[in-house]
Structure formats: structure tokens, C-alpha cells
Symmetry: D2
Subunit: 289 residues, 4 copies
């Protein structure tokens, strides 16, 4: 965390309260984070889905906090916008939450997001049963996390998987309020429904200045303008970068394989010089002049 990093958490906090809508996009490495920043997004979502996929392991709490933290730090080093780290269900119990808050805050990551699934978790979009912690138990973890935080700027987002687990909007609201009472700085209400209706109902009934966050992976028809009108303060496009990359890589590899040359794809892949530009090759070489 450098001087700018302290203000990264501060910047995120300001955005959450003052911006019309804060938009984040997912990434899993420094290059992806750089592309997110270059596009104009206000923050980077250090995505558990993406990082698991990049490691060719399912998003089932198999990756460790060490791997998540290292990736988040690499992303944070590469950009000047805030990084929000997806920390699954907190990597264990209350003390694991304390440990993660200490580590992420100390490394300059602006925010962490922790969800109320039981550890080990299963990705929210996997077609299996999802198990929730009792609300009070998860609230306790949020409270423990907030208790060990060192700076006032650092942001802890509580994510409820109530809707994903088949619970009602009532239950989601109850849980979200419980987490806010425990100290959560924002609430992410996740849904795997094809319709935005549940999260819109949640937003309408929310009556609190604490910001709401959504991840509209399964209900992409909802636009940023509509999200903003609904009073939701942050939206995360959580995994589209990786999904675009996978399709493009698979296609490019297949065409090269079939053609026996890269000629067919040369005009639709980034040039080597573009990559050098993203890496800052020339500014690095200038340092030593």
C-alpha cells in the first residue's frame, strides 16, 4: 500500500457514496486489470470465478487465500484505480476473516467482499445446492473483520447468497440488514435468476444509505441506466473479460492449427507492439537512460 493506495480505499468509499453509479469489471491478472482501467471502469473486481478458471480449477474454494491475495496484489500494482477482492466465504472461520482483512488492507487492496455461503463454497452459478451460514454467524465474521481493520478507509462488502440459495427477498433483506448492523460498508445482493426482478425488489425495499452492489451475470438485460435509477450504487461485470478471452483463444488456436500458420488470425489479434505498449516497455527502457 503506498500513499496512493491509502487513497484508493478512500476513492472507492467516495465513489460509493457520491458517484451516480460505480462500475467494475472482473480480472484475474495484472494485464486484465490494466485493460479494465484503460476502458474507463472505476474499479477492478479481482474475480474468484476468473482466477479459478485461469488455474483450471473449479470455483470450489480449492484455491487458497495465498493465491487470491497474490493475484489481487499483482492487479493492484498494475492500476491506479481501486481493486475490490472477491474473497469467497472468507477462507474459513472468523479468524480467517480477520487474517484476510489484515493482509488485504496492508497490501493496499481497497476492499474485500465476503459472502455468507458455508466454507468451502460452490460457485453461485453452479447448478447445485448452496448452503448458507446462519445470518448471525456470518454477521459475526463481518464484525470480526471490521474490528481488526487498521485504516478507516478500507471497505468490507458483505455479500448475501440468500437468493442464490433459493431464499426470499425478505430473507435477503434481513441478512443484508444484519450484516450492515455488524459493520458492513456495502451489501452485495447476488442472484442467479434470469430476471432482474429479485434484485430490483431488494433495491426498492432497501431503505438505507449503505450502498447496494449487484453482479448481473444472469440478467444482462438490466442496463446501467436502470441500475442507477434503482438506487443501486455499484455494478460488477464479473467475468466477461475472461469469457471473451477463452472464446478468442480457442478460436485463434483452432484456426492456426488448421491452417498451419497464424496468417488467418494476424489481423484480429493484438500486435506485439500493442502488448509492449500495455506493459510500458518503452517507459521501462527509458528509466535506465
Amino acid at each position: 500500500m503506498d500513499r496512493f493506495d491509502v487513497s484508493k480505499a478512500g476513492i472507492l468509499r467516495e465513489l460509493l457514496h457520491d458517484a451516480p453509479l460505480v462500475r467494475l469489471a472482473g480480472a484475474h491478472d495484472a494485464l486484465g486489470a490494466k485493460l479494465v482501467e484503460a476502458t474507463g471502469f472505476e474499479g477492478v473486481w479481482a474475480s474468484s470465478f476468473e482466477l479459478s478458471a485461469a488455474n483450471c480449477l473449479p470455483d470450489l474454494s480449492l484455491l487458497s487465500m495465498t493465491q487470491y491475495l497474490q493475484a489481487a496484489v499483482a492487479m493492484n500494482d498494475a492500476v491506479s484505480i481501486p481493486v475490490v477482492a472477491d474473497c469467497d466465504s472468507g477462507f474459513g472461520g472468523p479468524l480467517n476473516v480477520a487474517h484476510l482483512v489484515r493482509q488485504y488492507e496492508r497490501r493496499g487492496v481497497a476492499a474485500v467482499c465476503i459472502e455468507d455461503q458455508v466454507f468451502p463454497k460452490v460457485n453461485s452459478l453452479a447448478a447445485v445446492e448452496h448452503h448458507l451460514l446462519p445470518a448471525e454467524e456470518f454477521a459475526h465474521r463481518i464484525a470480526v473483520g471490521k474490528r481488526v481493520q487498521q485504516t478507516k478507509e478500507f471497505v468490507v462488502i458483505a455479500r448475501t447468497e440468500a437468493l442464490v440459495a433459493g431464499e426470499s427477498v425478505d430473507e435477503a433483506l434481513h441478512r443484508a440488514r444484519t450484516y450492515v448492523d455488524a459493520g458492513a460498508d456495502a451489501v452485495l445482493v447476488h442472484s442467479n435468476a434470469a430476471s432482474p426482478a429479485p434484485v430490483l425488489e431488494f433495491a426498492e425495499r432497501w431503505q438505507s444509505v449503505v450502498p447496494i452492489v449487484i453482479v448481473p451475470t444472469t440478467y444482462p438485460t438490466l442496463t446501467a441506466a436502470e441500475i442507477q435509477r434503482a438506487g443501486i450504487r455499484m455494478v460488477i461485470y464479473a467475468n466477461h473479460g475472461l469469457r471473451a478471452a477463452v472464446r478468442a483463444m480457442a478460436d485463434a488456436l483452432r484456426e492456426m492449427w488448421e491452417a498451419g500458420t497464424s496468417m488467418p488470425i494476424e489481423d484480429r489479434i493484438a500486435s506485439v507492439d500493442e502488448i509492449f505498449g500495455l506493459e510500458g516497455m518503452s517507459s521501462w527502457l527509458e528509466i535506465q537512460e
Copy 2:
């Protein structure tokens, strides 16, 4: 290195001598390696260019052997085809080469490739002067690497940057022969020319059973059929996956940003279920039944 891994080096060795042409594609993480394997390529090139880019750092020997090794191991875990690790100029002097051979071999990576640029190196495609080690000095490093190898299968590829550094084909041939005399199992002759002429001349004048390897990034007009006819045994499409990914990610992010929704890109990105498929989500979930 498990039982299968020992045979991975053995498989690579067989391919280099018996296959009409061995084709590799570059990757920098487990997912990329999986896509390379799924396409049909016979091996994965653990690319220094790609890994540097993924870390948003220029390919200037800034990443450490620890980072390269960790990435190569993650790729190797994800696939059943051999991984060839791009080890730049060997991370230092002769003892660093000994250290890397011991580490990569022990972790089950099938082969390492080391080049005769001075450490720290500059990416071969960067428009700067490239400095070569004296041939004898580099040959010594190859000899040291071969000396500490534990299994007979492990493959050490010597890469000459003579053409990249502006030297003649004569010099490239002289260097390659010196490295073979020192024990190299294969020779990668790199070129940044827009024409395949220099590497074709090299191949024509090479009179040895030791396999030649090329990386036709700057001369993509040369086809696999032509490469095979020239007697070259291995071709590496070193960085096209990452370059395809960057273009696709940049485009997808921009369209989402502008549209305020992911709707415009939904039909040309991989679905969440495709990602689960690549990760083996369902077979993982079945393990615990």
C-alpha cells in the same frame, strides 16, 4: 513429476525424433495450456513473452525464475502433453542454469529452452540492440545444465539469438553447433526477420540429426507444410493466444462500458458452463459422491 511426467519428457523426445513436425502453442496459465491441448497441439510453450505481459511487465528479465517455474508447473498440472519452458537467458550465470535444470526437471516439466542473450535479456522483438554472450560461454552453461540433469529423458533446448542480434546465418550455425557439442538436445534458431529466408537457409545448411526449432512470429507466411519440408522438427506459435485474448478482452470491455450492459457481447463470449467444462467442475463435484 509423477510417473506420467517422466514419460512427458520421453514423449517429447520421441516426438522430436519421430513425428513429421511437432507443433506447440504458447500459454501463460493453466487455462491457456488446457486450450492449447484441447486444440490438438502436441505441446505447450510456457512463454516468457506471455507471462511478462500477463504480469503487465515488459519482457526484460524482470520476472523471476520463481514466477516462471510456478507458472510452468501450473500449466503442466493442467495438461497431459509436454510443457516446454521458455527460460530466457537462464536467469543469471552457469549456476542459475544448473539450478533451473534441477528445479524444472524435478517438477515434471518436459523441457527447458535457454537462449544466448546476455542476462538480463530484452525481448527479441523489441527494437533495441540485443547483446549475445560469447558462444563458448553460453555453451558452458548448456554443458553445466546437462551435467546436473537427473533423468536421461529431460530435454534442454539451446536457442540462439544470433540472427536477432544482426549476426549472419554462418554465425548462427556456428553457435548452434557449439551448443550441440556442449550437449543441447535441440536448437532453436530465432529470427525477427519478416522473411523466412534466414531460418530456411539455416535449416538447409544444418547437417545434423539434432532437431531444429523455430518461432515464426515475424514470418507467419511460412506454413507448417513448408516448415516440415525444410526439415525443421518443431514449430512454436509463441504468443498468439495471449494476443487474441487481449484484443477480445479490450473489445468486450469497451462494448460493455459503452452499452451499459453485457448484452451486445453475450453471444460471442464463452458461456459460464463452457468455463465450468474446461475446469472439470462436474468431475470434481463427482469425486465426493
Copy 3:
């Protein structure tokens, strides 16, 4: 895992069945493992207690599998005797156990030891309540781990904390048998009692060829000869190296601080040349001749 590493698991398996008594000592880094080997011990215990302490974090499942695995691999690289990795309660649920078995086996570690405490665990010697998983649930984890194992040599040790949790020897025996039925290759019966009586009773009533392992930290009066006579096959001196090191470091630092020079301790610390000897400095320097 190199060729020798496959046989490391095989060697451990042979020792467990044929040696009068197998003795291990704990370590947390490569140097400690080297000292354990140099002393004559037949194996290294990659100790969770030690590694947590070395990281100045309590042994409460705060360290991740990544950190444990990396340490075990570093130790395994440094010695030719088998390494047995203390894997706490398995880092999560059944799939975490599958993941750890795959990773440790693939990296050449001879054995893993998993205990039936709930994750996150608390060190067995901490004066707090210890929570056990239901026996069937833990047995399922053992079964899952054995199911994904690739080689027949790899060893999975099931550790029961029944006595630590205040349960009876009957319960410990019941649990141990359940774990053996699930596929465990050996059983570690842990006790924090000041008397060896409970583990001796356990051993007397055990009636199975599956080897028993003990860790006599709290009952050091029990000698190797007595352990062997009791039919116990493996004993682990789990953390004495680190505890000796801490006392010696604290004393040495204090004396240097007070004396304003290292003179008072020079004759009772290892010389620089001894350290060079342990590292193999001269054999490394010879490689490049």
C-alpha cells in the same frame, strides 16, 4: 517427484511395515529438514506447528495449503529421506482433501497426515475446546483422498484427535478403525496427556497390521524402546528443533545486544563454514568448473 521421489513413498511404506520403529523429527524449512536427515532420522515431519510459528502466526488454520505445500516441497528437495506433510484437518472439505492429495503426491512428498478436527482447526496443545468431525464424515474425506491418489506408494495417514478432544480410548479406537476401513494407510493417535497411558492402551487394543503413529510431545518420558515394544511403528518428535532454535536465537540475540558484540556467543554458534557445508557451497561452485 523424480524417480527417487516415487521411491520415497515406497521407502516410507516399507519402513512402516518392516522397520522396528520409524523415527521422524519436525522441520519447517529446507535447512531444518537437512539437519533432521543428517542426524539419522528416517523421515521429516513437515510440521504445521513449526511452520505457523516460523510465520509468527498461531496454528489456527491461518496458513494456506499453498504455504504448507511450498514448505513441504522445499524440504523434500533438500533431503533424500521421505517427508510426511502435516496437513491439519485437510484445509476444508472433501474436495480440499482431494486437491491436497493430488498436489502433494504430484510434487513428490511421500505422505500426508490429515486429522479429524473441524476446519479451521486449533493446535492440539492449545488450552481450548477441540471440535471433532463426525467419524463418518472424516472417513469420507479419507476415502476421497485415497480415490484420487495416482500411485500405489503414496501414504495417507489418518490422525484422530479424539483423546485431545476429551474422548475415550474406545472412541479413539472406533474412529481409527473407521478411518482404516476408509483406506487410511496408517493411524496417528494424538494425545495431549502428560502420561503415555492412553496411547499405550490404544496400542495394546489395536489389533491390526495397519501401523500406529504417535507424537509424544506431552509425554516425553516414553522412550523409543518402549514405543517399539508397544508395537507402535512410527514416532514423531514434532517441534523440538524449532523450540531449540527459538531458545538459542533469543539467548544469542540478548547476549549480543547486551555485550555490544558477538564475542560472547562466537564459540557456541555454527561457523559460517558449517553453514556453507550444509548448503553444499563447495559442490555448487564445482558444478561450473
Copy 4:
């Protein structure tokens, strides 16, 4: 780097200029750093000698910056005193120095120390020839490092190995002055002589407010009082903790092996409760109350 970490560099800077003498002791992990702090030392030396030894690898630039940085960060997390990181000869060329300064500063390490040996380096106490970079070339690296520093507090120490390489005090002074002109914040003059005479002569002839640092491993007769009187501002007891630990571990292991029990050593090793105390076990457990 948290708020306190920024002041750690500031605190070190103040100490270097205002304290009668700043005393550091070497460590290689968090626990060692904690013991150094607990003894009263004003800072921790993240020792390359110690870390190499802990990895059972000779101090020959085999470990990577990744490994050094990770260890320094773990030490820094564990203490509230400044950590000074031994960065060998800078891990490569000028850009590697730029990279290390950026990384260490950003992670909250108070200072880095870089020496004028050629990369890869050989430990200063090894009985081999030591090769120096030309003074201007090393000065350029210092200048590059200072150029990329973000905060004014961060400290870059230039270490000259002139005396170790058999050069005169004149040459050492010339080099040190050149490095100060390039921006070094302090100068470490290293010597492997059995007598303190060379460094004392250096100190006497140094006529500059820029602090001098020494590492009296080979001339331990020189006391802190004498060092202070000579106008030297910082002294580093670089590796005595590890050397004390090695002797103690070797002795303890041997006695346990021979006695077949830990009884003979129980009264001279730290108790389990002492280890829990160092780790903060009870304060961690209280967090979740």
C-alpha cells in the same frame, strides 16, 4: 505498506541521523524478526545469507527476488521496527534495481541494500574471487533506483565490496563517494578481514554526513561503543541468529536421536506456551470473542 509502514522508512531515516548508533540483527523469517524486535534491536536485517541457508542453497544469487521479497514482507508484517532488505547485487541490471525499489517500497519495507558485486554474486565470506562492477556502472544502478522511488522516506543503502574483493581503502572510499553522488542514502562498507582496521580507517577518512554501516561478522572484537566512537551510524549482526539456531537444532536432534526421547533437552528448549506467546495465540483467539 500501511500508514505505519510509511513511518517505518521515516523512523529508520531519523535513527540513521539522530541515534548514537543503530543496531540491527539478521533474520530470515517472521519468527526470527519477532525475536530481533523483542530483544531491543532497532531494525531487522532481512539477510540473504540466512535466507539462502534456510533454503539449503548457497548464497550465490540462486534465490530469486520473489523469494527475497516474500520473506522480507513476512518479516515486516511481524514487527513494528523497520526492515532493511539485503538485496545482493540487485538481481540483475539497472532495470532489476528499478523493479526491486518499486516492489520493496510499495510493500512497506523501510530500506534496501544493494552491493557492487557483479550479478550473480558470491557470498562475501566464501573463499573465492569476488568480481566488482565498475564504480560508474554501479552508481548508475543506484541512480536508477532512486529515480523510481515514490516516497521521500524510503532508504537505499549502497554497499561496496571493494575490501572484500581485495581493493584498497582508497578504492572503497572512492566507490562509496561515487555512490553517494548517485543518490545513496547510506553506505555499507563490507569487509571480511579479521581486523576492524580497514573499516575504521574508512570511517576515519569518510568526511560526509551520509551514514556509514558495517557488518562485523569477521571482526567481532569491535564493540558497539567503539563503533559509535568511530562515527559509524549503523551496525548489523547479520547472521548470528541463524547460526545459533543451527547449532542448537543440530544438538537437540542428536540428543533426542541418541536418547530415544526428548527428555534430555526439555529444559533447554522453548516451551510450547512460549511459542504460543510469540505467535500471539491468545490475542488471536480473543479477536473472535
